[in-house]
């Protein structure tokens, strides 16, 4: 075994002592392979229910519950909007996700800017305050917000869902953008100012472009969180029905395959966005690393 590994250049530098022969190469190989297999199985585990969801979108259920596999059909995909309540719920979810993401991006983006660009009193406190909503169970957030609305005599509905969603999205946006801005050299702004750019122009030409990757990541995260939120929404929805609330409401009576169709659509759209984001990021990286 010494003959095969002997390096051609200056073999005296690496004495290859006895200690290194434990664990023996075959054992290392077994270790490496079994760890990779274990990780692969973990990844597979993540996809098991996803396969089920996608496959069952092509099922022709007997009765109202799309739970047992019967036969293959394209009918659900041809008629994804067959159930008007489901369509309304889905539209409401998209609308709420879009508005709350927009508001949270502004609020959270500004917080991130303040935290990374300035040194000021109370910085550490704000950092801690941002984490608190994330370390509070959703059921507590939902119940406390609902308690406020009940105490105030506010009817729960569209607006209260929006308030709730902005609340939990702001923290996520602020932390995501902050993470991307950390370590950024803010003297670039001074350079722009020195070159005669006004504060507005400096922001639009220097600061904002640098925030875009963080904001995009935060927007995707916040949209996904809003679209998927169930517990907080349940407490603050009143009579409004979002997509998750619809599923929760009908599950005792029926599970129509159209739910799977819409879920699969959301999945496909997210994957496409993720791929676009990755490719765009890689292209940007390439253009930055090879300037000439």
């Amino acid at each position: 075994m010494t003959a095969t590994v002997a390096p051609p250049v200056s073999p005296t530098i690496d004495p290859a002592p006895i200690e290194r022969t434990f664990p023996p190469p075959w054992l290392r190989k077994v270790g490496t392979i079994s760890l990779n297999v274990y990780a692969g199985l973990g990844l597979l585990y993540l996809f098991i229910p996803i396969f089920v969801i996608v496959i069952f979108s092509f099922n022709q259920p007997k009765g109202r519950f799309n739970i047992v596999w019967q036969e293959f059909t394209l009918a659900n995909w041809k008629d994804p909007f067959a159930i008007p309540e489901l369509v309304d719920a889905f539209k409401l979810s998209l609308e709420i996700a879009a508005i709350s993401t927009g508001v949270a991006l502004v609020f959270g983006g500004l917080i991130a800017l303040a935290l990374t660009r300035y040194r000021f009193r109370g910085n550490a406190f704000v950092n801690l305050f941002l984490v608190l909503p994330l370390t509070t169970p959703e059921i507590v957030l939902g119940a406390s917000l609902a308690s406020l609305f009940i105490a105030q005599g506010t009817d729960r509905g569209f607006l209260t869902i929006l308030i709730a969603h902005v609340m939990f999205c702001v923290s996520f946006v602020a932390l995501t953008v902050k993470a991307r801005l950390r370590g950024f050299d803010w003297s670039l702004e001074d350079a722009a100012m020195d070159l005669g750019a006004g504060p507005m122009r400096t922001f639009t030409k220097v600061t904002f472009p640098l925030m875009i990757p963080g904001l995009l990541a935060a927007a995707m995260l916040s949209f996904a969180l809003s679209l998927d939120d169930f517990i907080i929404t349940l407490f603050n929805a009143g009579t409004e029905v979002t997509f998750p609330l619809y599923i929760f409401g009908v599950r005792q009576r029926a599970i129509p395959p159209q739910i799977n169709v819409l879920a699969t659509t959301v999945l496909v759209v997210s994957v496409v966005l993720l791929i676009i984001g990755t490719v765009a990021g890689r292209m940007r990286e390439r253009s930055r690393t090879s300037p000439h």
């Binding site: 550490a124 059921i139 105490a151 998927d228 599923i247």
Partner: protein
């Protein structure tokens, strides 16, 4: 932490507070104030036949003692299930994050994307899918029965195992992502140095890599354990009346029984227990920077 001079950061007198105010005021109004209202509600008179919706504040501490004596079992179950799910998430998530971070090479981002993709389908639908998979007439249960692992009438659905499995599945990415982030930051030269100093791979891992990944482990376990404690979807979809968690009780008391004080007392207790547990955990792990 606050005083470190970073490149080009400015000392702000008014500007930072101006930038912070919209978001922070929102969080004060709709996060902090509600928690205080929740506390107030938890000490109000419970509704009865004569005053159905009065919510008179009266320092009614019996809400707490009643709630705890009545629902102690659900509390205990919540923490046991959440702890079990967190351990399972760690056992699955750490090796996965490690392999992606250290062996993913140029496919790292792709693999990370694969971890996140399943969670772009709605939480409830994923849990319903597990219900389909674990159903009595399903493939999994039938196979396990044929193999004799399950008794002839043995079930997976409606067992604690199903609930813990659901919790594990649904909160796994919250474990994987922070661990990945902290592993990815580790300077590979440190690992090489350890090996140059004759550490075996296992020793290099335990002495160098694992300690440096502890912040990620800390964040990951919290982000898994906390939501798992308050969850009621997994118990509602995959469990039985014998596996209800505290979230199920709060949801039922608040939205069905309309007994706000009891629900508030239970929620507040949950929050306090979690906060104390987090502080102890942070002390034990010696992590100062929670964010």
């Amino acid at each position: 932490m606050a005083g470190t001079a970073r490149q080009g950061t400015k000392r702000g007198r008014f500007a930072p507070y101006g930038l912070l105010s919209p978001g922070v005021i929102w969080l004060i109004l709709f996060f902090m104030v509600p928690v205080m209202v929740l506390f107030r509600t938890s000490l109000s008179d419970r509704p009865n036949r004569f005053v159905p919706n009065a919510l008179n504040f009266s320092w009614n501490f019996s809400n707490y003692t009643d709630a705890l004596s009545q629902y102690g079992e659900q509390f205990q179950r919540s923490f046991v299930y959440a702890a079990a799910a967190t351990i399972a998430c760690f056992a699955i998530g750490y090796p996965l994050a490690y392999v992606i971070a250290f062996r993913g090479g140029r496919y790292r981002n792709l693999l990370l994307g694969l971890v996140v993709i399943p969670f772009f389908t709605t939480f409830l639908i994923r849990t319903l899918a597990w219900k389909t998979i674990l159903a009595d007439e399903g493939f999994v249960v039938q196979t396990l029965r044929d193999l004799g692992i399950l008794a002839a009438n043995g079930r997976l659905l409606a067992t604690p195992l199903a609930v813990i499995g659901g919790l594990t599945y649904n909160f796994l990415p919250f474990m994987i992502l922070p661990i990945y982030v902290s592993l990815e930051k580790i300077d590979r030269n440190l690992v090489d140095a350890a090996k140059d100093l004759y550490a075996t791979p296992a020793r290099a891992f335990w002495r160098v890599v694992f300690p440096l990944s502890l912040p990620g482990v800390f964040a990951g376990t919290l982000l898994t354990f906390i939501p798992a404690c308050g969850d009621f979807i997994n118990a509602a979809f995959l469990g039985s009346p014998q596996t209800t968690m505290i979230g199920n009780v709060v949801q039922n008391q608040f939205l069905v029984q309309l007994d706000y004080p009891t629900a508030a007392a239970l929620s507040f207790t949950l929050m306090i227990i979690i906060t104390v547990a987090v502080l102890i955990y942070a002390k034990v792990l010696g992590t100062e920077d929670i964010a």
